[in-house]
Every structure is written in C-alpha cells, then in structure tokens.
C-alpha cells in the first residue's frame, strides 16, 4: 500500500521486498525506530501487561468480577448515564453547532471558543466547581432544592458532569459538516415546494447523521472513562452513584489487583468497541455521502 505516495525515485522500479518506498530524505530508520521503541515502552507494553493479567483471570474470572453486585451496579451506572449524557449532548450539541455555524450574532466567536472549555479545564477543577454549583446551598442547587430536585450526590449529578465533558465532541464533529452542506440542495428543496421544516428534516439533517453518530460514540467513550469531573458531584454512594473508574480506584486501595484489572478490561473492551463503531460509521458515511 501507499508505495507510490512520497515523491522521488518511485517511477520505474518497484522492489517488492523493500519495507518503505525509496526516498532521498534522510532519517527514516532513526525516527521510525525511535517512534516504535517509545510507543512500545510507554503505551504498548504497559497495556499488554493489563491484557496479560486479564487473560490470567480468564472469562470465568472476568464474569465473576463483572457480576459482583457492587461492580455490576457501577458498570450499569456508568454505561446507562454515559449513554444518556451523550444522547442529550447530541441534541444540544447540534443546536449549538448549527447556531454557531449558520447565524451571525454578537458574541458568536466568544461562544465558539467557550465550547472547547471542557477540553481545556482540568477535570478536578470542573469536578469541584460543578459540585459546589449544584450542592444544596449552591448557586443552582439551592433553587433546584426548592423545586424538590436534588442534583449533587445523586445520579443526576453524574449526568450533569458527563454532559459537560461530552459536549465539545458533538459540536466539533458536526460543525465542519454543517459548514459544507451544499447550498444547491437546500435551494432545490425549497424550489420544489418543501417547507423549511421539511427541508431541514429531509435534506439537511440526513448528511449530518454520520457526524452526529461519530460525535455520540466519542462523547460516550469519553464519559465511560471519565473520573475527575464526576467523583466530586457523584457522592459515590455504593450501589447508587458509584462509577466504574471509581471502583478501579477502590479495588486498588484494597490491593485487589485482579478486581481492578477485571473492571479495567471490561471498560477497555467497551471503549475499543466504541472506537471500532466510529471507524465503521466513517467508512459507511464515506460510501454513502462521499468524503466528509
């Protein structure tokens, strides 16, 4: 693959036994070797130790860890609330992306920069700030308490924190696609007598679907692994508002390495599943809509 890619000297002879296509540029062995070495030492070896530890547990061992009542409750909490948060982010992220791309209004550039805040703000900072905002005596917590809604130290708190971390994934994935929507389609639709709502629903939204799904999968994967911004607002009540990453920490504190490894493996499997889904969605959307 990619044999004819980088420029010089590839014209006539292709030597099938060469690892890389010939090039006049120097430094390939050095930089490639360093890349592989560093990648292996920092990322691949430590991760394979995890996989190796998990394989010594076996499927039976993993099943035992996953069905331990407290762990099962934690996994359920993590996956269900991550799903809900990512779904809410899809709706509001779409509105935010649409408004930021299509409309001109004062403060638009500022809001556009603000969208990246969850990427930039350290998770612990977001965590304590959300916790104090939604605490029963907090700025949002107090009025909500009057309405009888408790957010901090409940599952609702986890939802709020995960909505916070997931939003930029949706907005940043959908924004470029909204910018590229073809004017002609929209005009044709209107010319053919469609109402604006029909045009939006049947002409503009379908091409956005793959990007929305990709963003959803990214926000979901991030939410599943999120720790810092959740633990302060969650209250961490066993069986109610404990998330899976917290349970890894709890297991480690009890020196239960097998338990921690088991939970970590299950979470890794799910995030790689999400990653795979993203790639499949993108491959499908390339076939369906061209290169977007």
């Amino acid at each position: 693959m990619e044999r004819t890619g980088a420029g010089a000297g590839t014209l006539g002879l292709k030597k099938p036994w060469r690892f890389r296509a010939p090039s006049v540029l120097p430094g390939f062995s050095l930089t490639f070797g360093y890349t592989l070495l560093y990648l292996s030492l920092i990322v691949l070896l430590p991760l394979s130790v995890l996989v190796w530890r998990a394989s010594s547990l076996g499927f039976g061992g993993l099943y035992d860890v996953a069905t331990e009542p407290r762990v099962a409750a934690g996994l359920r909490t993590t996956f269900s609330i991550s799903f809900a948060a990512a779904a809410i982010d899809v709706v509001f992220g779409l509105v935010v992306a649409w408004v930021l791309t299509r409309y001109e209004f004062p403060g638009r550039r500022f809001l556009d920069a603000v969208v990246d805040l969850p990427f930039a703000l350290p998770t612990a900072v977001a965590g304590i700030s959300l916790a104090s905002l939604y605490a029963p005596n907090g700025l949002f917590g107090a009025p909500l308490a009057l309405l009888g809604v408790k957010v901090a130290f409940t599952r609702l708190g986890i939802l709020v924190a995960l909505i916070f971390v997931g939003l930029p994934f949706i907005v940043r994935t959908v924004q470029p696609i909204i910018g590229e929507l073809e004017v002609e389609l929209e005009e044709a639709s209107a010319t053919l007598g469609a109402t604006r709502a029909q045009t939006v629903w049947r002409v503009l939204l379908p091409p956005l679907a793959p990007a929305l799904l990709t963003g959803f999968a990214m926000a979901f994967a991030r939410a599943v692994g999120e720790y810092g911004s959740v633990i302060f607002i969650a209250g961490n009540i066993a069986y109610v508002s404990e998330i899976a990453p917290l349970l890894i920490v709890v297991k480690l504190e009890q020196y239960d390495y097998a338990g921690a490894t088991g939970i970590a493996t299950i979470m890794l499997a799910i995030s790689f599943g999400a990653l795979l889904a993203i790639n499949l969605i993108q491959a499908w959307s390339r076939r369906r809509f061209g290169d977007v």
Partner: protein, 292 residues
C-alpha cells in the same frame, strides 16, 4: 467566514434560513445551554476562590504544601512535554515524509492513550511497577520507587499526553509533502539543516498548537496521576491532587484558589489556541476534524 442569511431588503424571504422567531429561539437555547453548563462552572471557580477576599486567596497559594504542589506540577510538565515533543517530531517525520505499509495502524496505536480511561492509564503502570507488579520485586530489591513517587507521576503524565503533539504534526506534515525538503537536499543542505531551516518553519504554528494542548493536559491531569501518586502531601501531590485533598477537607477557599490557578491556565490555553486558529489558521490546515 460565514455569511449571514438575512431576509432580503425587498421583503422576500431567503429559502436558506429559518424564520426569524425560530432563529432567535435556537440562539437563545444555545446561549442558555452554554451559559448554564460551561460558563457557570468556570465562573464559580473564581468567585469561590475570592469569597473570603484576595488576602485569603493569596495566603492559600503561598501555603507550603500548595507551593510544593505547584513546583511538582511544573517539574512533571517540564519532563513530560519535551519528551513527547521529541516523540512527536520523530513520529511525524517518519510517518508523514515516508511511505511504508501499516501506516494507519501505527497512527491508530499512537492515538490509543486518548481512548483509555485516565484511571486505567494509571492502573497499567501500577501493574508494571507496583509492589505486586511485573517489576515489583526487582524494584524493591534495588530500592527504586516508581509508584507512589515522582517517576510514576511523570510516566502516567507522559502516557495521557502521549498523542497530542504527534497527532497535530502528522496531518500537517502529510499535507506539506516532501518537495521543499527534496529541493533543500538537492541544493546541498545536510539532513539536519534541512529539518531546521525548511521543515521546522513550516510546522512551527502546528507545533506550538500541539505544545499548548499537551502542556495544559500535563498540568491538569487528575485521574491517571491520582492512581499512581499515593497522595503524600508536599511530596507527591500535583496541583489537581492538592485541590482534591483540600476540597475533601472542606477547605473551600484553598481548594478553589489552586483550582483558579489551573482554570487560568486553561483560559490562557484557550485564548492562545483561538488566536492561533484565527491568525494562523492556514498554517494549521491539514489538521483532521475532531480534536480529541
């Protein structure tokens, strides 16, 4: 960048936008959502930090443990960022300037740390270097401390910030191709001179962009560092970990004072990032859509 699709002067409606009322409603939804979920948590950090006045704020930052945490955070970033910079340069040079099989697999592997939960990132190092880890006995016999000590914090930080610079540079260098380097080499420049005089100026803004994001994450990382740190005050607490301890001790002013420091870093990062995108957007082009 984006045109306004306002109704035309003659009173004829443009077919390319929603009714003014719908438009206003959507803008309001977006603005209120962003204000409630993103701006409010940011604002609370600073109001809480200054709730007892500027004196208490300054005193909290001058505390011995706080100063130790700030120093440790700076030290960790000063190691992790350059190490990942070197990797980013090597990886992007070998991947973008040469063609060889298995390239997309390599890029996927480099992105791997982004899809691993921070807690799991810490856990894998505990499994390798911890007391019960692969090298546990050997390290204990040689009196080397990695986990619950500074080296573990550095390693975990390198892991979570691993892809930032490489993933900024790879698409950028791919976009630029190899023509300019080939010209320099043909004219007799050495390989190193070519890199410094031709490649580096071409990628400087992308490099700066990657450095900014890498540094912000290195200084703000919580989950991974929390697992390997051991939380020893004055010794193995970075700023985010110190924030957690202070918050759990109900020392709100001190916790938010340090949090405000991190939030300011996030704001500076966002500001510079927005500036780079606005001023040097073309030089950053070639960057893939989503950011994380």
């Amino acid at each position: 960048m984006f045109e306004t699709w306002a109704p035309r002067a003659g009173g004829r409606k443009s077919v390319r936008t929603e009714a003014p009322a719908t438009r206003l409603a959507l803008i309001l939804v977006a603005v209120i959502f962003l204000a409630l979920f993103l701006l409010a948590p940011l604002g609370v950090v600073f109001t809480q930090a200054l709730q007892k006045g500027f004196g208490a704020f300054a005193k909290a930052l001058a505390d011995d443990d706080a100063v130790a945490a700030i120093k440790l955070t700076l030290l960790v970033a000063a190691i992790a960022v350059p190490v990942n910079l070197l990797f980013g340069l090597a990886a992007s040079w070998s991947i973008a300037k040469f063609s060889f099989p298995g390239k997309s697999l390599l890029i996927t592997l480099i992105d791997l740390p982004f899809s691993v939960s921070p807690v799991v990132s810490g856990l894998v190092y505990v499994l390798v270097f911890g007391a019960q880890g692969v090298f546990g006995d050997w390290l204990a016999a040689h009196d080397i401390e990695i986990i619950f000590a500074v080296p573990g914090i550095v390693l975990a930080t390198i892991f979570v910030t691993f892809p930032f610079i490489a993933r900024e540079l790879i698409p950028l260098m791919q976009e630029q191709g190899t023509v300019e380097e080939e010209a320099a080499l043909t004219l007799g420049a050495s390989g190193f001179h070519t890199f410094v005089a031709v490649t580096l100026p071409n990628i400087k803004w992308g490099l700066l962009y990657g450095l900014l994001l890498c540094n912000a994450r290195a200084m703000g990382e919580f989950g991974a560092v929390s697992v390997v740190s051991g939380h020893i005050r004055g010794l193995t607490n970075t700023i985010p970990l110190q924030v957690e301890i202070l918050y759990n001790e109900y020392n709100s002013v001190a916790a938010f004072a340090l949090a405000a420091l991190l939030a300011s870093l996030a704001l500076v990062t966002l500001g510079l990032k927005t500036f780079l995108e606005w001023r040097h957007g073309d030089a950053l082009k070639g960057r893939a859509g989503g950011r994380q």
